[in-house]
């Protein structure tokens, strides 16, 4: 991953969606994600593809939604 490109992807996502600051998703099962949250995550998925990654798992440390990149196809859609 190019660190500078990744910076832009993450910062853009946070600015657009407020994802990093948004609690509430953390204790939800994937099936309970709201349409708005799902849209935000799908936006993240698209950005990740730009840096060679995919969402494969959602992990919520410290009250924020965090995702992991993976080269495998898939995602939450």
């Amino acid at each position: 991953v190019d660190l500078s490109t990744l910076h832009g992807a993450i910062r853009g996502l946070v600015r657009d969606t407020g994802r990093a600051a948004a609690p509430g998703v953390q204790e939800s099962a994937a099936s309970q994600i709201s349409p708005t949250e799902r849209a935000a995550l799908n936006a993240l998925q698209r950005r990740l593809r730009g840096v060679g990654g995919e969402i494969t798992q959602l992990v919520p440390p410290a009250g924020s939604l965090v995702w992991m990149a993976s080269p495998q196809p898939g995602g939450i859609e």
Partner: protein, 331 residues
């Protein structure tokens, strides 16, 4: 890091015995031997009562995965344990995280300086079993890895007083400080078995990625909001990767709370929240997971190079990049 993998864990008692024997032969002064023993009994160390040492596994499991007898790697594993111990001691001393009540820092510093020499003695003593040339090679690997880690620690300290640190430089510091030490430990285990340069190189790359993953997870804990045991990263103005990310956001977007990371003028909890809200945790998790995947890819390279399926057992040495709380639904 899973320490009890492959069959190397069976040799842990022997490694512990080698550490004790080496300390016992170090000096005729009982008090000095006693302080050495206490340093090697700190949490996570080989002689700790809870017995959760991770470093010998890098040596023993790599040796076994490549077809060697981990029993041949006892001395080398003890040497790596001594070197890892002093790196850990120095890190805690310079980061103001030393528990003076347990071991006075001055005595810890003095005894810590002796630990690399005990490592050298362990390597020298293994020459009878491994041969002089192989022992010399292992000694050179230990020295190179330890010196690289010292240089990384120095860079870490220099960056404390450097207000503008790029993410690339923070990443390089992480690789030097943490990656080089684990790379060395794995290469030492491999060098018991093989002289093949491409295998040793791949094992070094594997260990380097493993070390970076572990350090980045540690760095995440250092900026975790709401965590009482967050450590001193924010207070000491460390330029860990999540902090370097937040500082770049601050520079480019004139964000005052994040800028306070460099000045250490804000409340630590508020700074931690600022790093999180800017996406610093997201960013660091992606980089950590990227290194994790790189480590797993190198394992496959090693399978091809050696033709040994057992090499896949090394996957267990790669830290899991997961939350403290699990996601119930998955994705």
């Amino acid at each position: 890091v899973a320490a009890r993998t492959l069959g190397g864990a069976d040799c842990y008692p022997q490694v512990a015995a080698r550490v004790r024997d080496t300390i016992a032969q170090s000096s005729d002064q009982a008090a000095f031997r006693e302080i050495l023993g206490r340093l090697m009994a700190r949490p996570g160390r080989m002689l700790a009562p809870e017995g959760r040492a991770k470093w010998p596994a890098f040596v023993l499991d790599t040796c076994q995965a490549l077809g060697g007898d981990p029993g041949e790697a006892i001395g080398a594993a003890a040497a790596v344990e001594f070197v890892a111990a002093v790196a850990d001691i120095v890190d805690d001393l310079v980061d103001d995280e030393w528990d003076e009540a347990v071991i006075p820092w001055g005595r810890a510093l003095n005894a810590g300086v002796a630990l690399p020499w005990l490592a050298q003695r362990c390597v020298d003593d293994s020459a009878g079993r491994l041969g002089a040339e192989r022992a010399r090679h292992i000694g050179a690997l230990v020295a190179r890895g330890y010196l690289a880690a010292c240089a990384g620690e120095d860079l870490d300290l220099l960056l404390e007083d450097t207000p503008v640190v790029s993410e690339e430089l923070a990443h390089e510091m992480t690789q030097r400080k943490a990656g080089s030490l684990v790379a060395m430990a794995c290469q030492v285990g491999a060098a018991i078995v093989t002289d093949q340069p491409d295998v040793l190189d791949a094992v070094g790359r594997f260990g380097g990625h493993v070390g970076v993953v572990a350090q980045l997870l540690n760095d995440l804990a250092g900026v975790d909001p709401g965590t009482p045991a967050r450590g001193s990263d924010i207070r000491r103005r460390k330029k860990t990767l999540p902090i370097a990310y937040a500082l770049r956001c601050a520079r480019e977007e004139a964000l005052t709370p994040a800028l306070a990371v460099a000045e250490a003028t804000e409340d630590e909890e508020r700074i931690a929240r600022a790093v999180r809200d800017l996406g610093g945790l997201h960013y660091t998790w992606v980089v950590a997971d990227t290194h994790r995947r790189e480590a797993l890819a190198v394992v496959e390279t090693l399978v091809q190079l050696t033709g040994r399926e057992a090499v896949r057992g090394l996957r267990r040495l790669v830290p899991a990049v997961r939350s403290r709380r699990s996601w119930r639904g998955g994705a």
